[in-house]
């Protein structure tokens, strides 16, 4: 979904990066890309509780595959939201913990969760009514 990435690819439409962004959207896409995927938020929420090892994360987030757990933690690590510590023991042991930036991000996520909790019923009702009048989307 990365906008910046698609800009690299020579495309037929040759549309420049869509980020004229009114005035205030320019860094937000990268953040939204992480919020958008299914797992990042859950991982961040779990890490907000404390240091976690790979397996612990996987158990804490039921349904996530090894692949996606690796990808998600890797991206968070790359972006400096998560710190990754390898203990060269046998068997190997890898710990993940939020950085300062990561904790800041976790707060934003918490606010998001709060807003969702407050409005979810209202949204659900609106959606139900809408689909009763007009059909499925």
């Amino acid at each position: 979904m990365s906008v910046a990435h698609t800009a690299v690819t020579p495309q037929v439409g040759a549309q420049p990066p869509i980020g004229p962004c009114g005035e205030d959207d320019c860094g937000i896409r990268g953040v939204l890309d992480r919020l958008g995927d299914r797992w990042t938020v859950l991982i961040v929420v779990e890490l907000a509780k404390g240091v976690r090892r790979f397996r612990e994360l996987q158990r804490a987030v039921p349904g996530i595959s090894q692949r996606m757990l690796t990808l998600t933690t890797r991206r968070l690590w790359r972006d400096g939201l998560v710190e990754r510590t390898v203990h060269p023991t046998i068997p190997p042991q890898v710990e993940y913990r939020l950085t300062a930036t990561g904790r800041s991000f976790a707060e934003v996520v918490a606010h998001l969760a709060e807003w969702s909790a407050v409005h979810k019923d209202e949204i659900a009702r609106s959606r139900e009514r809408w689909e009763a009048d007009h059909g499925q989307l």
Copy 2:
């Protein structure tokens, strides 16, 4: 409006942290799904400035297709974040405006944008350094 200042024990509110979300909705998934897609945020940001007609939205958000503009506004309408008014004139004229809930949502988005703006450089640098050491993801 520093986000950092609101840092005091995030989950003081109601309920345990964000716990019960475990894997499935406490409502947040639905919100994140909207935030995740490429267009919703841009539309909401534009509508936060005032009432807009279909074409106006399309011009304000360069790169969006008619199809995606329809889908995005339709979903926002369905979920009660946007109000849709049809004037049966010729040519037809349709106005979109945020509802109270929609404006509330727009505030959340604004906070998100603010956080992004504050941290985007830092994230970008972290990513650059990371990709210098290790390769592309």
